[in-house]
């Protein structure tokens, strides 16, 4: 454990070692980080923010399709993490915990939106035309983002966790509180819907009929 504690002062090598750790070692390292956070260690807080905030904000953006909402969710997740630090359970993983909190916050926001809300116009709607000709990467990204944002809530959540956040099927199922079989079903329905909505784009980019 002591060698893991020394990792906090480094940056990239730390991430490489932590991501390569076995699950048990990662949990132990997270528990030590949280002990330091509870003790007011600024370096530990900064390390966690650097390591986890980009993923949480990206996840919230995938769910909410709004930068401001995604940043609000990211901030709320970390405020709750700081408050929880003094009673952190050593069997928990910070990344999984944060995604569970973010999931709940995102679902609350999605359900609070009026049905007529155009998903914050997705911040994507600037491109009103369909795919045609040689599309720039930014336009392609908008079309893909819009397709993902158009998925039903639970399918979007499953796709976001597995395909964008790179969680294993078991971890994603835990975050969603569903069985692995249910997760697979949601993923399959989500991907089928995406295949349909991105068919035109696929033909444009890949030159397929």
């Amino acid at each position: 454990m002591s060698s893991q504690l020394a990792l906090l002062s480094a940056s990239d090598p730390v991430r490489a070692i932590i991501t390569g750790m076995a699950a048990g070692e990662a949990r132990a390292a997270d528990a030590e980080l949280m002990r330091r956070v509870a003790a007011g260690d600024a370096a530990a807080c900064r390390f966690l923010v650097d390591r986890e905030l980009p993923a949480i904000v990206a996840f919230a953006y995938r769910m909410l399709a709004s930068r401001s909402d995604a940043e609000d969710v990211g901030q709320e997740c970390f405020l709750r993490l700081w408050k929880t630090a003094h009673k952190w359970r050593p069997d928990a993983k910070v990344r999984t915990w944060l995604h569970r909190v973010a999931r709940n916050l995102c679902i609350d926001r999605i359900r609070a939106r009026k049905p007529s809300d155009p998903i914050d116009a997705m911040e994507l709607a600037a491109d009103g035309s369909g795919p045609s000709g040689a599309l720039q990467q930014r336009q392609v990204a908008r079309v893909v983002d819009r397709a993902v944002a158009g998925l039903p809530e639970r399918q979007r959540l499953a796709v976001a966790l597995v395909h964008f956040q790179e969680f294993s099927n078991i971890e994603a199922a835990k975050i969603m509180d569903v069985s692995v079989e249910a997760l697979e079903s949601l993923l399959a329905r989500g991907r089928r819907a995406l295949r349909g909505s991105l068919e035109g784009l696929r033909a444009d980019i890949l030159g397929e009929p």
Binding site: F78, V144, V148, R202
Partner: protein, 146 residues
């Protein structure tokens, strides 16, 4: 899940539908058999290529990076005192212990007040001021006799 499932085109289709063509996402127990089927079967290969094409599109999705202001706000919040007023009053551990002791003391005090007799007396016993008057009256009586 999946360890006892037969790997055929149907199951491979389910895997590709759910997880796409990235083999690292497939359930570990089915990975080797799925890979073998793709290498051995043309139809399986088509399914795999189809899934990979969708994966390529999804990789083109946009993303955002958190702003520096957001990071700064979160780190500033980490430095703020975040204990509750109970923790501020009792920073030595679980607050239920002193709270329980205080509550017990209050209850004991109320019970004692109701059940036990007044230590200063009560009812027909003279009050303190009356005791003083009695003492003084005795002195006055003695002085009068003298």
């Amino acid at each position: 899940m999946g360890a006892d499932k037969q790997m055929d085109l149907d199951r491979l289709g389910e895997l590709l539908d759910a997880y796409g063509a990235d083999r690292g996402r497939w359930p570990e127990a089915e990975r080797a058999r799925a890979r073998a089927l793709i290498e051995a079967n043309d139809r399986a290969r088509d399914l795999y290529d189809d899934a990979r094409a969708l994966d390529d599109l999804l990789r083109r999705a946009g993303t955002i990076e958190p702003s520096l202001e957001l990071k700064a706000e979160i780190l500033a919040a980490a430095g703020r005192p975040r204990e509750s007023w109970i923790q501020a009053l009792w920073p030595f551990g679980a607050a239920w212990k002193p709270a329980s002791a205080l509550a017990a003391a209050i209850m004991l005090g109320i019970a004692a007040g109701v059940v036990l007799p007044n230590p200063l007396g009560g009812g027909d016993e003279p009050l303190e001021s009356e005791i003083g008057e009695l003492a003084m009256s005795t002195v006055f009586e003695q002085e009068a006799e003298e």
